[in-house]
């Protein structure tokens, strides 16, 4: 089995993605282009 992930290292461009907000709107990472952004990833469980 091969690994297909090419995760960005420090200094690399983070690939764009789209995820639904709690309010139901589509949010793209690229919506934040032009701003400094802190991304927090968490889980309720």
């Amino acid at each position: 089995m091969t690994t297909t992930s090419a995760a960005p290292a420090i200094g690399d461009l983070v690939p764009d993605f789209t995820l639904p907000s709690l309010a139901g709107a589509d949010v793209r990472l690229s919506d934040y282009r032009g701003k400094r952004l802190a991304v927090f990833m968490w889980a309720s469980w």
Partner: protein, 178 residues
């Protein structure tokens, strides 16, 4: 605090990694009175994009979409050193690493393929098939917490969906080496 961040031309994006969808993370977001946006990843977007196998994680991305800092695993914004690092970046664009805030970036994760194949089966309603794949994946990558927890949720749904999530039980499983 959040208004200071946006005034500095910065923002915060919270990503809840919950296969079961928005109903579980929503109360956490609401209770925190969070003004920033929370999105929900019910698949492998976070895992694939950032190359992570567990949460909580923090990443700092600059105006051009470039990754400037990553702490994958054990990211805790309440820790003073972490809070300072994030604040300095958002307010001033500076990153000053300390011993308490090392870069901990992505790893090559052979188990991603197991995780994703299991998700496909899970999505198709084949819980037993998903559990089988994830058990194989756990042998390859015992630290893949997202997969471990999904596996637990199938094997012991009473600990996850019947009232409060049983964190004590999860700790027991870890202590028992499962």
């Amino acid at each position: 605090m959040y208004s200071d961040i946006t005034a500095a031309g910065s923002d915060v994006l919270s990503i809840a990694v919950d296969l079961q969808g928005p109903d579980l993370p929503r109360p956490f977001h609401d209770k925190a009175g969070a003004e920033f946006t929370t999105v929900v990843d019910a698949g492998t977007t976070v895992t694939r994009t950032f190359g992570v196998r567990a949460v909580p994680n923090g990443a700092l991305i600059d105006e051009n979409g470039i990754l400037r800092y990553a702490l994958y695993g054990g990211f805790e914004i309440r820790k003073p050193a972490t809070k300072k690092l994030v604040s300095d970046f958002l307010l001033n664009g500076q990153i000053q690493l300390t011993e308490e805030t090392p870069v901990k970036g992505a790893v090559d994760v052979a188990s991603l393929d197991y995780f994703e194949r299991g998700l496909e089966l899970y999505g198709a309603g084949d819980l037993e098939g998903a559990a089988t794949i994830w058990r194989e994946g756990m042998k390859v990558e015992p630290d893949h917490w997202n997969m471990r927890k999904q596996l637990w949720a199938i094997e012991h749904p009473d600990r996850f969906y019947d009232g409060d999530v049983d964190y004590g039980w999860q700790k027991e499983q870890v202590d028992n080496g499962k």
